[in-house]
């Protein structure tokens, strides 16, 4: 029963992620990378075990992260509630091993740690339920 619901939810989630990615593309065209990042982080599917949903969402977030040029400016307009989920995605980015992604993620990680503190890192390490 729960398995069926998961499968339906997965399809629904993937459709939502596709909508999101279209919205983000348009935001990026309008040179609003911070808005794009907020949109990408907002609808992150919580508690889903499906790897496809997570990968799909990661691709969207990755696109938004790579489009950011001004890291300090981004933090001045990003709400603190997004820090934790951003940290989780940064670690996912760092694990890819792709040079430009890692460069960008390392840059944002340093600034995010200064802003959010070590608690943010520890929450991303300790949260085994909501993983990205």
């Amino acid at each position: 029963m729960a398995g069926h619901e998961e499968a339906d939810n997965a399809e629904a989630i993937i459709t939502r992620i596709e909508h999101k990615s279209r919205k983000i593309e348009s935001l990026l065209k309008q040179y609003k990378p911070v808005e794009a990042l907020k949109t990408a982080l907002e609808g992150s599917p919580p508690k889903t075990r499906d790897e496809r949903c997570k990968s799909a969402n990661w691709i969207v977030v990755h696109r938004a992260i790579m489009a950011i040029k001004d890291v300090d400016g981004m933090f001045s307009s990003l709400d603190p509630e997004y820090y934790d989920i951003l940290m989780k995605y940064l670690y996912r980015g760092l694990s890819t091993g792709d040079r430009p992604t890692c460069d960008q993620c390392l840059r944002i990680h340093e600034k995010l740690t200064e802003r959010a503190g070590l608690g943010c890192i520890l929450r991303s390490l300790a949260d085994t339920v909501n993983t990205v």
Binding site: L94, G97, D103, E110, L118, G119, A126, T128
Partner: protein
Amino acid sequence: MANTLRLYLTCIRNTLEAAMCLQNFPCQEVERHNKPEVELKTSTELLLNPVLICRNEAEKCLIETSINSLRISLKVKQADELENILTKKFLRFLSMRAEAFQVLRRKPVQGYDISFLITNYHCEEMQKHKLIDFIVQFMEDIDKEISELKLSVNTRGRLVATEFLKQFI
């Protein structure tokens, strides 16, 4: 180039500062035993998410934490075959003397060049920030050492070859 190294080391330092929250935890399965949980991985509730921090395709650092122990595995940059051999031999030399280092692991984790195992006992005896300083300093020094070794091997090779081939002039 130097900037990414600085960012990489800062990221590792921050992650270690957050992850090095270790306390004593006796083994749940066997009475009177105290084992580093990160090595056994028997109980999932005692483990935190492992974190992989890559600087580029060649260099990475895996940090696995549990309630009473922390394991850090490093893969060092190896540009060519000579550096490959030098790194392997040098790090094997260090690993065999792991007793002297206390926090070093005798065998590196599969896929990495060298591993550290830090337990709650180490954190009690030694200062946490000093341990982290040691790890980060180690990472900086390894690169320098390998380049120095490579330079000295090339110099010696050149000298030996010159001397040897002089007799044929």
